[in-house]
Symmetry: C2
Subunit: 460 residues, 2 copies
């Protein structure tokens, strides 16, 4: 009975809202072009960065940002607006100073990396030993490093696809643990960034098994240049560090979730979003107020155009920066639900230039109308399937759920990433609107197409 009545319900739904009622190319084009005058993404980005500012994972400001997000998403008319709460380990940045004691007394500008330890309260004074790569550090004789301050430099070139961040970023992600295991007293790295400003780039690093936490800091790029020049003069270089960073227990965080319920609950959920938390140095405009703003504005446009086939779930993830805690919590709480597609915006707000996919081979033909709708925006499709990804959604994607990616131009992203300079003025309203148009076009197609985009790892 129950089985029969459920089938009847589905059949009935199919009559009123035919499952094959895909958005026509004309309808998608109309929604896309209307989004080129969007003001909501700017309103959200401006509001979040102005009324909250920095939103560090686990901070009071992140909690205020959740309240702000819930109020905003309710006011916009989304359904099922709520917070999924979780706890995160809390790291305090504190203060960090570095003084070259000899041979040329002067201060260096730097900031602590996530999970950095502090120095003893009286500070730490040691000789500096420099390396020009992670490989050189890894190959070093521990006797040459013991008790010293390790400095690792590099050169990171700007790139549209941001690809140097992977290999160069390894210096930040793993350099501190390598230095610690080799006996270093502290580690300074050249900021993982492409700018020439006196604003250091923070970012997460995690202590590897067996690596004792030590002070781990990033020098602003001009200061890394300076330390390189001083080391090249060949005299012993001594630096005095004072760092008050420390771990400080657990703090509340959470994901803010809102929905546009679809016509067919069985058609699968499309998750879109970005992360609500930011690093504490800037106001998190490009990372990632713009990401939640773009995806929310696009979802709102689809909602306002009429109920879609599939449910859109907008997620403003919490505590992304310190270890994808929002993504992990989402997977744990929602991984068993039927997800059709995941897509995240977390690479600034410059124009989308590329569309990438990670779907089942059988679903590739269904990507064509998306690519066709994006093409007038100057967006090309990467013909190689399987490259789409996203930070928070990577945790859910582990379950085998398809991912689409609308890649922003990242040429200047790493000038600003994780620095005090990540502020609203860095957002170009015209490019922000192009993003909303791209996401609107993508959602117009995918929310109304009954195609199964992939193997779904968890089936009911």
């Amino acid at each position: 009975m129950m089985k029969f009545s459920k089938l009847a319900l589905v059949a009935s739904a199919a009559l009123s809202f035919p499952l094959n009622a895909q958005a026509t190319p004309q309808e998608t084009a109309r929604l896309r072009d209307a989004a080129m005058t969007d003001s909501l993404a700017w309103e959200i980005t401006e509001g979040l960065t102005t009324e909250i500012g920095q939103r560090k994972a686990g901070s009071d400001a992140e909690a205020r940002a959740r309240d702000w997000a819930v109020a905003k998403l309710k006011a916009l008319g989304f359904a099922n607006v709520r917070v999924d709460p979780f706890e995160v380990p809390y790291w305090e940045r504190g203060e960090a100073t570095a003084e070259i004691v000899a041979p040329f007394p002067q201060s260096l500008t730097l900031t602590a990396l996530g999970n950095s330890a502090g120095t003893p309260s009286k500070g730490l004074k040691a000789e500096v030993i420099g390396f020009d790569s992670l490989a050189a550090l890894s190959a070093a004789d521990p006797a040459s490093i013991k008790g010293k301050i390790v400095f690792v430099t590099h050169r990171m070139a700007p790139a549209q696809d941001g690809s140097p961040y992977g290999p160069v970023g390894a210096i930040r992600r793993t350099g501190p643990s390598i230095a610690s295991k080799l006996g270093a007293a502290a580690i300074l790295i050249r900021s993982i960034g492409t700018d020439k400003h006196r604003n250091p780039h923070t970012g997460a690093q995690a202590w590897a098994e067996g690596a004792k936490p030590i002070p781990a800091l990033a020098l602003a790029n001009p200061d890394a240049d300076q330390l390189e020049r001083i080391l090249k003069r060949g005299q012993p270089v001594t630096i005095a560090l004072n760092v008050t960073a420390k771990m400080a227990g657990k703090r509340p965080s959470g994901n803010v979730i809102a929905e546009v319920p679809g016509r067919d609950p069985n058609a699968g959920i499309i998750v879109v979003g970005g992360h609500l938390d930011s690093w504490d140095l800037g106001t998190g405009a490009i990372d990632d107020a713009s990401g939640v703003a773009i995806t929310t504005a696009a979802a709102k446009r689809i909602m306002d155009a009429g109920q879609p086939l599939r449910t859109i779930r907008v997620v403003w993830f919490g505590s992304e920066e310190i270890g994808l805690f929002g993504g992990i919590d989402y997977r744990e709480k929602h991984g068993a639900e039927k997800h059709q597609l995941l897509a995240e915006s977390d690479f600034g707000a410059d124009r989308v230039w590329r569309f990438e996919t990670n779907v089942a081979g059988a679903a590739l033909p269904a990507m064509k109308p998306i690519a066709a709708a994006l093409s007038p925006l100057g967006i090309e499709q990467n013909p190689s399937n399987g490259n789409a990804s996203g930070s928070d959604i990577s945790e859910v994607a582990k379950l085998g759920i398809p991912v689409l990616e609308l890649s922003q131009d990242g040429t200047r992203y790493f000038d600003l990433h994780h620095t005090p300079d990540d502020t609203l003025d860095k957002i170009d309203p015209a490019q922000l609107r192009q993003n909303v148009a791209a996401w609107t076009a993508m959602l117009s197609v995918t929310t109304n197409d009954p195609t199964e985009y992939g193997p779904v790892a968890v089936k009911k």
Copy 2:
């Protein structure tokens, strides 16, 4: 006898070094073009910014910089290398923090302006009142300002000739005194700069007669944007300031002087140079290591080409930033000597684009060979005589001594001016060499031309 023998001596000198032995256009062109491969200006700029770093007026670092300068100028073969010492009032920057308490709690990035007072040690909390111009502040009702934190914003456009710095800079130079006289508890100004970075611009301001020193600070431009946005929302805005800036007695400073003695001690001295001190936030690369470097490199080229008719006096002025103390000391100690010409480089190291004069009308024909020698470098002459100036030399110029100016392109100068971002990486070596070529050409003509360039206010 004595008279006769002196005349004989002059006649004899005239035979070996004829007073009218002007540099031929070919010789000047050869020296100019050779300077396009100059490495000395870079060496001085790199050395001073790397081995000393910041050189705040009256600081230990400025004293080390004087020692560095004396050693360098002697090593380069200049004559009469020495320090003219003097004392300056010393101002300590200390720390400055600003927290918006309500309605949107967050930190603002700012720095103290020169001669700023500190807050009480427990800090200062007050409501903010905003103005969009100095005129609006000046016209305000004191009752509306009493006990409040005044905020003055503005818009400063980049310009090749840097001309907006005059009117906009008045906000920094006089705003604090105006606010204090109106009863303000403190003043925040938008940085006097054209960038969008989280690096505030410091700079000098002096308390007017009867103005009680108050905390006077500059917000980084993105933070001024933020405060503007928050004020526009119409709710009362409260800020908590903690500032430890203070005056701290007298400290030693000095001018470093070196010479290329001319063939004719009566032909008048040509003073060239820049200032050795810098603000403390950056390493003083464009302001003004490059200025002393360019002028010294050019003087060295003239020296190496053979003894000029006139003496070149290279002056690395001390304590310019806090009130032209080096210029004042120079005028007091050397104003009575016969100066023929003054020229200073203190506007960065981007290419020279304009040649300006402030000479006697009768000397204008003598400007033509200078303009002709500069033209191949893309430098145009301002046909209006009387506009040339310079910061330190303005004090000596008051005595009626002619001034020449080689104006650098200032389009990006106020992105960096007085910020932490004034570092070596901002110097373009190719444009630096063009500067040296321009100064070499100018000195090649002027050091060998017996023309009297002006009325000389002090005659023996």
